[in-house]
Symmetry: C2
Subunit: 349 residues, 2 copies
């Protein structure tokens, strides 16, 4: 089961929506000056807590905005809000929990004045909640949050009222996807008060087999209840995914292994690869690892690779504008280097 | 140049057409008894010279016939001639020339009573001629060949009259093929009195980039003249191929390297592969080796692989009938094992 969780739950995230009592909601801000005032006061409060770095949307390049968006540290909506938006990101992460290395980010003037979040690896909702809750407690000492004794935290959209909390997990569900079970699962999960949606990557139809589950209800329940309910749903999905993987193998073991190992063979030898093809192939490599056909010491290096070869990140790392063809060559080199640590196994599930 | 020859000329073959004076040509044989008489007398004469093994077409399985046909030891015509045909094959080869390891075969009752041939690796026409000529000299001591003082050796088809000799070389011409130079080359070579034709493999459109060049003229010239003319044409083609490879790389080095290395990545990791896909991919692997993107200690192991994974050979080696799907799985395993000796290089042409 431990291994099933590890190969199914990629990351956990808890985010809290907060608004400052003394300002209108972001959509009703009257001037850039007012937006900047909010950014300054949040940044001042946060910088006392951790070494946050401030990204103001009106000055950062599109590449930088795209890169932090690709890493799920800001939303596409914030990335597009070049006038009022900003983000505080602690890129150092937090090492104290060992493998649960995570990242803090606080979006400013997205739908709410503050969207505080912590993303950590694996199934670690309680850790993520404790981390961001600590930050939230500290911020509330210096910032006056809009809070109603009966309704709880006030938010721009009523779906976030109350706890203002969304707990989510990023899931890798190749078995359920390929056994055509996702539509049914999405319907069932929605009846439990949660949402499951496909995660779409940059420039490609779908970042293979990736889904996000999150709570729908924020009002009239405690934070602890939300966490335990999402956790319970995630564990149920992990079980269903494990069954689906077994069924998938029972159906055509050789075919699936062939597909996964070919994807590994191509990515570890190609001389150029587009982002769209890369996303498809790396999903099959991840599937191969999940099914035990391929093995790697440190699974997170695959996620690091996925992040490193996104178009925006390549440009940032190379630090000069590349043509699409040059990016494809660079991406292939990164793949070859990262996948040198992957081995075919003789076993498998 | 040495390296160009090695990566362009795969094998050399010399074959001599002979007929027995005391029998009508094979197409005019009157009975199976007469055909068997010829087989017996040729086999008796040959077995004194080398450890030839006799394959009589009316008793060997289709698989065995297909396998020796795939290895170019008998013609498709002989393989189809299940009534009168036979072949003497020395599968031990001849090790005395080191790398030039070759194979003797004598087809009986193909178009002529005897078609004696020697196939050796690389550009080695003189060796092949010496080998088969020695056999021919010895056979002529006990068999009475149909010979005319003016016309030379008499053959069923006038195109073989005189020397009865055909000298040929198997060429790997990916550069000329991909630069669309083959049609022109074939026309030019034909003006020199030689024939170039594509070599088609079992079950697939084309055994990638493979061509055979052979002399057209057999009458009114000496054996030595034929050998030197074919050798000259081969060396000219080797030069043209080297130029074409350079031009191909100048056009799209990254694209070609990508193609070759992906083919290597797939074949060295796949779990199943059809014969048709295999032939396509292994051609690209060979191209990658020829261009220096891939390297292997012993190039002939690639040819051994190509031979070993032909459908008929797989069935012979496994010694039980396999389904097509089982054959594809077995073929993939052979590929992984053989290609473990191949490495990507950092250099290349």
């Amino acid at each position: 089961m431990a291994n099933n969780i590890e190969s199914t739950v990629l990351s956990s995230r808890v985010r809290l929506a907060r608004n400052l009592a003394d300002y209108p909601f972001p959509s009703a801000l009257k001037s850039t000056a007012q937006a900047k005032e909010i950014i300054r006061s949040v940044a001042a409060a946060a910088s006392r807590l951790r070494p946050f770095r401030l990204y103001e949307m009106d000055v950062i390049t599109e590449n930088v905005a795209q890169a932090i968006c690709d890493d799920h540290l800001i939303s596409t909506e914030l990335a597009a809000n070049r006038k009022y938006g900003a983000a505080l990101i602690d890129e150092e992460g937090d090492e104290e929990d060992g493998d649960l290395r995570g990242k803090y980010s606080i979006m400013i003037n997205e739908e709410d004045h503050l969207r505080e979040q912590y993303i950590s690896r694996g199934l670690s909702l309680a850790v993520a909640y404790r981390k961001i809750s600590d930050i939230d407690d500290e911020l509330s000492r210096t910032l006056r949050f809009a809070f109603d004794a009966k309704l709880g935290y006030l938010t721009a959209c009523p779906t976030n009222l109350g706890t203002g909390m969304r707990a989510s997990a990023m899931l890798f569900l190749p078995g359920l996807t390929r056994m055509n079970k996702m539509n049914r699962l999405i319907r069932e999960i929605s009846r439990l008060g949660h949402t499951v949606r496909g995660v779409y990557g940059e420039g490609s139809a779908a970042e293979g087999y990736m889904y996000q589950i999150s709570n729908e209800v924020t009002l009239g329940v405690s934070e602890e209840y939300i966490l335990s309910e999402v956790q319970r749903a995630v564990l149920e999905i992990v079980n269903l995914e494990a069954q689906a993987r077994k069924a998938l193998l029972a159906e055509d073991r050789v075919g699936i292994k062939d597909e996964c190992c070919r994807a590994f063979g191509i990515l570890s030898n190609c001389e150029k690869v587009s982002n769209a093809e890369f996303l498809q192939l790396i999903s099959d490599v991840k599937l191969g690892i999940a099914l035990g056909f391929l093995e790697i010491e440190d699974f997170s290096s695959i996620d690091d690779l996925i992040s490193a070869v996104r178009p925006a990140n390549i440009d940032l790392l190379i630090d000069k504008p590349l043509t699409a063809a040059e990016r494809d060559v660079h991406r292939a080199g990164e793949c070859r280097a990262a996948l040198a640590a992957v081995r075919r196994t003789s076993a498998g599930l």
